[in-house]
């Protein structure tokens, strides 16, 4: 047997947002955990925008919190500004977004990791995955030749695998932090039979604060009453940093002209590089080309940190040469004298095909090997962190000999995300959108704790005290709703008349319960407190009562849809089917079903290329098979 430096229950490769959650979850669940990173200075780095959350992404952050992850608390504790987007569009699509001090964010996460018992965060680059002759997992090997034995390994390599930085016509090895890229591991994975694909993303320039004329831009302040991601607000997360505003400006015709004139200086437009970039986060040159009828694009200027002079220029991601970037940048109002501190660039990196994974993010053919984050083809810190958390949890359950922890599409955005990755498969960096969640009104950011915290408690990631608080909250919500249903107001009640007058609401003709009254969008729980018998609850309880009562009809519609969804989820596909023999299936469906071996008809229905007609064929096939089996049994 070859020499191993030491043995761990779990080895996490990479210390980005996926790696941090994976390592913390594994260690918190009792695994002896080693985290290996190229550089300890890169832990929890935000190499792109210094913000966390937004629609769908913000909900993911709350789900991570509800399950006992770290991202929400870390963002809250380092927030420079917090803002809820999409208010008025419906509670399911509210998106809290926090601008964090990226340096503070890193510092705090490093502190949390280093103080976590059972976790060692060590600087060393992993260059190989080690398997035995029978392709069983052994561990990893580092650049320095050290070999670590791991019962489980979680690969969270982010955008670093064989990464190259593309700027103008230059295409060189590198990563967000300069010349560092991870070499070796990709080749090792390919050698073990993993298909490697190339994904691309990009980032905008960073500008020196002193060179920006903010007076020409629109001020974008945070919310006056900032919300938190975490359901638990502590001394640490209660707004310690001063509120730093963002600013809004626009590109213009001149900007677009300069870009168009210089497209021949981009490797992506000369045809030399293709790169599967995220359609949802296009470079400014792609925007100008694709939306050529738009005469301007929104651009946001965001602070990177309290002590930093760098401002992030959201919406302005570019892979054009440095001098061209500077030229079109200076056509933007307020940026005429902009001094660039870091230039924008595109980055290309290796990723695996996420369809080789199970729903627990484990490789289908190498037990104990997990993948999380951008290596699976996602984009975004939040998507990465969610996968890291789930991989960490599942690595622990694997070692404990327990069933994997899988969330369904009807339970959480995390469930939607992972199901999309492993069943649907992706061809470009995957960003979580609310439109990907079929039942988003049930998967709200406000009820992530009600949906998931009991599960986190069962797993052992939520402490007793927090679980008891959840039970109390649930109790108060039910009590409050019952109470409102029992309180009836007479149309003659002068208090009622006054309230209706105040809110411009129609006077009820008959007696009305307070519950019915709360269904009116113009009224809030706060308004009801003037009536006797209506108690004041903690704000989060009042918020829940309000949402649950007001949207009850639509919540019930979605619950009915979930029941329908479950019908197909419960139809299990037999393991021994050769789909090639089902000629009614499309060629593509036959190939994909054989390859992916979905567990249920529901899963099969979400595979790209498997059409409803294919599902109908499968349904009838199952029915025939059942009937035949019954016939045989009857004989």
């Amino acid at each position: 047997m070859e020499f191993f430096a030491s043995e761990y229950d779990c080895i996490v490769v990479g210390a980005g947002h996926a790696g941090c959650e994976a390592a913390l979850a594994a260690a918190r669940l009792g695994l002896n955990t080693l985290m290996l990173t190229i550089s300890r200075d890169l832990i929890a780095l935000m190499p792109c925008n210094p913000s966390i959350g937004g629609p769908a992404k913000g909900t993911i952050v709350r789900e991570i919190d509800a399950l006992g992850g770290e991202m929400a608390i870390n963002a809250d504790a380092t927030a420079l500004q917090a803002k809820v987007l999409n208010t008025g569009k419906g509670p399911a699509v509210y998106g809290l977004r926090v601008q964090s001090d990226r340096y503070a964010y890193q510092r705090r996460m490093i502190r949390i990791l280093d103080s976590q018992p059972g976790l060692l965060v060590r600087q060393n680059m992993v260059v190989a995955l080690l398997l035995d002759e029978e392709r069983r997992l052994l561990g990893v090997e580092t650049e320095t030749g050290l070999r670590y034995k791991g019962k489980t390994v979680i690969l969270c390599t982010g955008t670093y695998l064989n990464s190259r930085i593309i700027r103008g016509l230059s295409n060189v090895p590198g990563s967000p932090v300069g010349q560092i890229a991870a070499w070796g591991l990709s080749e090792s994975l390919a050698g073990h039979g993993f298909a490697i694909r190339r994904f691309k993303t990009g980032t905008p320039p960073r500008i020196h604060k002193r060179s920006i004329d903010f007076s020409k831009m629109a001020l974008q302040p945070g919310d006056a009453q900032p919300q938190h991601f975490s359901f638990v607000v502590t001394e640490e997360t209660r707004r310690l940093l001063p509120d730093l505003p963002c600013y809004l400006t626009y590109s213009n015709q001149r900007t677009h002209e300069v870009i168009k004139e210089n497209l021949d200086q981009s490797l992506f437009y000369t045809g030399e590089l293709e790169g599967n970039g995220p359609r949802y986060c296009p470079s400014i040159e792609n925007k100008v080309v694709r939306f050529h009828d738009k005469d301007r694009h929104q651009l946001f200027v965001e602070p990177e940190g309290l002590d930093s002079q760098e401002y992030y220029f959201q919406g302005f991601s570019s892979a054009l040469p440095e001098d061209v970037q500077e030229r079109f940048l200076q056509t933007v109002a307020g940026m005429e004298k902009a001094e660039v501190l870091r230039c924008g660039y595109a980055i290309e990196y290796d990723a695996i095909d996420s369809q080789i994974l199970t729903h627990s993010l484990e490789s289908k053919d190498i037990a104990g090997l997990f993948f999380a984050g951008q290596i699976n083809g996602t984009s975004g810190y939040e998507e990465a962190a969610a996968q890291g958390l789930m991989a960490g949890i599942n690595a622990a359950l694997k070692i404990q000999g327990k069933e994997p922890f899988v969330l369904t599409r009807a339970q959480a955005y995390i469930g939607v995300l992972i199901d999309d990755l492993v069943m649907k498969g992706i061809t470009e960096p995957y960003r979580m959108l609310t439109s990907a969640a079929e039942y988003r009104l049930l998967l709200r950011q406000d009820n992530a704790d009600l949906r998931l915290t009991a599960l986190g408690y069962e797993l052992g990631l939520i402490r007793e005290e927090r679980y008891q608080a959840l039970l109390e909250k649930q109790h108060l919500i039910e009590e409050g709703k019952k109470l409102l249903a029992s309180l009836i107001l007479s149309p003659k009640d002068p208090l009622l008349a006054a309230l209706m007058e105040e809110r411009g609401s129609a006077m009820p003709l008959h007696g009305i319960t307070l519950l019915e009254l709360l269904r009116r969008p113009e009224l809030s729980y706060e308004d009801l407190k003037r009536f006797s018998g209506v108690p004041a609850y903690p704000p989060e309880v009042e918020e829940q009562i309000e949402i649950q009562v007001r949207y009850q009809g639509y919540i019930e519609k979605q619950e009915a849809q979930v029941r329908q969804f479950n019908q197909l989820e419960k139809k299990l596909l037999p393991r021994d089917v050769d789909y090639e023999s089902l000629k009614g299936l499309s060629l593509e469906a036959r190939e994909k079903l054989n390859r992916l071996q979905p567990y249920s008809l529901g899963q099969a229905s979400r595979i790209t290329g498997v059409t409803p007609a294919d599902i109908n064929v499968l349904l009838l096939f199952l029915e025939q098979r059942r009937a035949r089996k019954e016939g045989q049994d009857g004989l």
């Binding site: 629609p55 959201q314 139809k571 000629k583 008809l601």
Partner: protein, 464 residues
Amino acid sequence: MTDFINDTIAAIITAPGIGAMGALRLSGPAAFAAAARVFRSKSGRDFEELGDYSLNYGGIYAGDSFLDQALLLKMKGPHSFTGEDVAELQCHGGPVVLGQLIETLTALPDLEIRPAQPGEFSQRAFLNGKMDLSQAEAVMELVSASNQKAAGLAAEQIEGALSCRIGQLKSRLLNLLASIEVDVDFPDEGLGDAAGAKSWIHQLKQILSDAAELLSAANLGKIYREGLRIVFYGRPNAGKSSLLNAVLQEPRAIVTPEPGTTRDTLEERILLKGIPLVLTDTAGIRETGSQAEQAGVDRARQMALKADLVLYIVDMQEGITAEDGALLQELDKARTLIVFNKMDLIEEDRVEAIPEAADWQCCRLSALDSQSLEILAKHIKGFFEGGKNYRQNQEILLNRRQEEALLKAKASLEAALAVLEKGWPEDMAAIDLKQAWSALGELTGETVQPALVEEIFSRFCLGK
């Protein structure tokens, strides 16, 4: 284990009973082998030599005993109805010969031919990708079509005409949904529709009016399938039964000068100028002490409410009475034709004095006159084609399930419109719109409904 279809099925595909011709179909991998055992070509050629897609004359045999002369239709999979090898045998014989043939085939020891289940040929066609669900349903409609027009509509739907029209509706709905989703998911990009809710409301109204048009097209289709329900209605002894007999051109209803002769409703079907009609004669409406008659009167009222068209018959000897006025009050003007009957019994000069209510549709005739059928036929056709949404050749055929799905879609679209008009959060409208989308998918089979697939094929008759 064997996963799937690998056996061969056989069934008589002509209606049971004595007919001019009988046919039997074999489908599956052993179809040709089985057919070869019972069919001998007149030309003396071996079965394998017969063309893959050929019609062949010869005889059928049970062992060595000749059963009948027959035509063999040979169709090689996958280009056949079921997508498998198919052999069809057509012979003169009725149930006896075909029964013998089936027995012979299923008794072949090495080939394991088994009798087909109802709908099994279509099931195989479906499983082999030869048709989609709406096409399968249309096959069923075609088989049971009672008139040419309905058969034509079903045939069009086998070709996918319905899916095409639903598809147009769905693509407009998708555009609207996408616009809302972009607004929700990309608040920073400024990509959303600048006009927002106002533009959404406008688009939604368009989609709703398309859906309504589709529904009325479906109503027309329904008439072709089920017949236009016409109820003969009015006071006792107005001549309802006489008129019915005149239309039917046979004395179907008992006619006496005695008022109240018709106690119960009487239903008859005919085809009039290409329009299938379901004619219902009813008891005359009057206050009565007889329980039996009262039951008939109640039923008549019910029928009048459900009718596509009410023929309100007035005895012109008496003219429009106060009772007639009261009864007419209960009816829908748009679906009522007042028939002034017994015009032959009144004096010429009184004819001019008939008080015709300006906005009611009326016609004058005498049930006993040979002209009356022509006059009535003209009015009924006029009513049918003059319908608000009638457009020639725009009919579609929906079964009950499909019609329910379309109604469900329309209700969801209306709910979404209400949300947007009230200024409620757009996400709620999105939920309604997605429900509408899914309901439209139910129509074409794009929304998968587990219970449905099995059910559709279970309704097929044997041999399809």
